[in-house]
């Protein structure tokens, strides 16, 4: 599997979960090639028992071999020796690797795993072949790459879902009060508010607008925010001069912000599970919040031409079940409020009133989120679909 780490840990987050599942649930020998070794080590840091050896450029962890992007001839040829090659999010493979794939008999199964979208065209593209002409030393060879598109319906590639995930969430949610108390004690919060939020959005105007809405809200709440860029902007929004260290909490009016250290994916899943509303972004945290079965706000990756708003609306429409049977009054009202808030927030607008309006709808949104989680859980998961697509299972 080849992954280019574009920014933060979204791409490697998805790649790592997929590698883990292929290795642990299917027993496959998996190598994850990453182009940014330092970023990969930062991402894997919560799983490493000791300081990573940056110079080594290779690491065996939890059944997966992680290696630095192949650059020399030998590594490029070695990388092509797999039975299945997955390029994550359409990343370009090294030319030498491609030529080596073309020289192999049989050619490896080659998959392009694309970004997640809820738009209709995803189902039409999923599974299509993509003939690729590779210029070898002596001859031209055509390799068949296959497009694999994640999605929310049974005619797409599905979503990543480990076998024990839903049960794990049930367990965490049964222990929710205990887990919250632990966090409460660890951070020494002033009080134990009834509303818990996790916040992982993109920095900029949207964070400023959200923070403004949160601090204007009269109801007490605790908001867990990761250390780094977001926490730094938060401190700035709150008028603090110093960068908040992980493990600290900041109080402003009725809201307490916990600055959380970078955690492993499993710990993040647990955090999502015990919060009342999860504010997530991009792809990995967005999908994981849906598996938590709790209400969510999605900060979609902004694109210059505004195409992200089409993608947002496609998801909102699907999530709200607009094509399905009519909803009850309470659920319909909650979803209408949620859609308006999520959309306006992604447009960069102020959302103080909409946030205030949303709070009474949280019980109905929680119920809807659980139903959505169950609906998704009935679909084939991404990894099993991928394994079937490669022909290694039926």
């Amino acid at each position: 599997m080849f992954c280019r780490i574009i920014d933060n840990f979204g791409d490697i987050g998805v790649s790592w979960r997929l590698c883990q599942q292929l290795a642990t649930e299917y027993g496959f020998v998996v190598t994850l090639w990453v182009d940014d070794w330092r970023a990969a080590m930062r991402f894997l840091d919560p799983l490493l028992g000791s300081e990573p050896d940056i110079a080594s450029q290779a690491l065996q962890l939890q059944g997966v071999c992680i290696r630095h992007w192949p650059e020399d001839e030998q590594s490029c040829v070695e990388a092509a020796q797999a039975a299945v090659i997955v390029e994550m999010f359409g990343c370009e493979l090294p030319e030498t690797t491609l030529r080596s794939m073309a020289a192999q008999q049989p050619h490896p199964c080659w998959i392009n795993l694309e970004y997640l979208s809820a738009e209709d065209w995803v189902a039409e593209l999923h599974g299509l072949p993509s003939p690729q002409t590779i210029q070898g030393a002596d001859q031209t060879v055509t390799l068949q790459k296959q497009f694999f598109l994640p999605g929310f319906t049974d005619n797409t590639g599905g979503l990543l879902r480990e076998r024990p995930l839903i049960t794990q969430h049930q367990t965490w949610q049964n222990e929710q009060e205990v887990l919250r108390d632990k966090l409460n004690n660890a951070y020494g919060l002033d009080s134990n508010p009834s509303l818990w939020l996790s916040l992982f959005c993109y920095s900029g105007n949207s964070l400023a607008n959200l923070v403004e809405a949160l601090i204007q809200d009269a109801e007490p709440a605790v908001c867990i925010i990761p250390t780094g860029k977001l926490a730094n902007q938060l401190a700035s929004e709150l008028g603090l001069s110093s960068e908040p260290a992980p493990g600290k909490y900041l109080t402003h009016g009725n809201i307490q912000f916990i600055v959380h250290p970078f955690v492993s994916q499993a710990d993040y899943d647990r955090l999502l599970s015990i919060c009342d509303i999860n504010i997530v972004r991009g792809e990995d945290s967005f999908v994981r919040a849906q598996w938590a079965g709790k209400p969510l706000l999605w900060h979609i990756y902004p694109q210059d031409d505004g195409v992200h708003l089409d993608k947002l609306q496609a998801f909102q429409s699907l999530y709200a079940g607009e094509a399905g049977p009519a909803k009850s009054g309470a659920e319909a009202a909650a979803l209408a409020c949620w859609q308006a808030l999520n959309f306006r927030w992604n447009c960069g607008d102020g959302i103080e009133n909409l946030w205030h309006d949303l709070r009474p709808h949280l019980p109905a949104l929680h119920s809807h989120a659980r139903n959505w989680q169950q609906k998704l859980a009935e679909l084939p998961d991404l990894t099993s679909s991928l394994v079937r697509a490669t022909g290694f299972a039926t």
């Binding site: 999010f89 359409g90 065209w121 993509s130 792809e283 694109q303």
Partner: protein, 188 residues
């Protein structure tokens, strides 16, 4: 070489040694600024149709095939005979006419494009829009004048398509030959 995004419907690309005509090329924005194209292709050598996906910046080999303007002349089983401006006859089998066969009629005057590969005619392209007469359709039942209510109509060739409810037998209609769909009734 052109990128997948630059390729237009009607152009021909070379894949694995075979010429494929692009019948449709849909562009979609994926995530983080990337984009993908879904193409409907037809193999010009054997008529096989397929759908493929490409990253929008994938490089494809476009080939320009020889084309010649022709008009339909007559059917001499099993060959359809077209003539060019020099009255030279060009014969083509029914199988190679595939998606245009339904619109071939005696007396048609459409200027078509005969497409050649290695000196052999491999397909005939109709103009994007053609006009045909409705041979049969049920009378209008509900008096709809909006054009949104559709019913089935049959052409002289036997081909059936959906037309606006207000169309009658003997009416001339415009047909999109790419989508094989009714476009509008022609005012006389």
């Amino acid at each position: 070489m052109k990128t997948a995004q630059e390729i237009r419907a009607g152009q021909v690309i070379m894949i694995d040694g075979s010429p494929w005509k692009v019948q449709k090329n849909d562009f979609h924005r994926a995530g983080r600024g990337s984009a993908v194209n879904k193409m409907k292709l037809k193999n010009l050598l054997n008529g096989v149709a397929t759908e493929t996906a490409f990253k929008s910046d994938d490089k494809l080999e476009q080939i320009v095939l020889e084309q010649k303007e022709v008009t339909y002349s007559y059917f001499a089983d099993p060959m359809y005979v077209f003539v060019d401006s020099d009255y030279e006859q060009i014969e083509i089998e029914k199988d190679d006419l595939e998606n245009v066969i339904d619109f071939i009629e005696d007396g048609m005057e459409d200027v078509c494009q005969a497409v050649f590969y290695n000196g052999k005619v491999i397909s005939i392209d109709l103009p994007k829009t053609i006009v045909r007469e409705i041979a049969y359709t049920e009378p209008s039942a509900r008096g709809d004048t909006t054009g949104k209510v559709m019913k089935t109509a049959r052409l002289k060739s036997g081909y059936e398509l959906k037309v606006s409810e207000f169309c009658d037998i003997g009416d001339l209609i415009e047909i999109d030959t790419i989508a094989c769909e009714y476009k509008a009734r022609v005012k006389r």
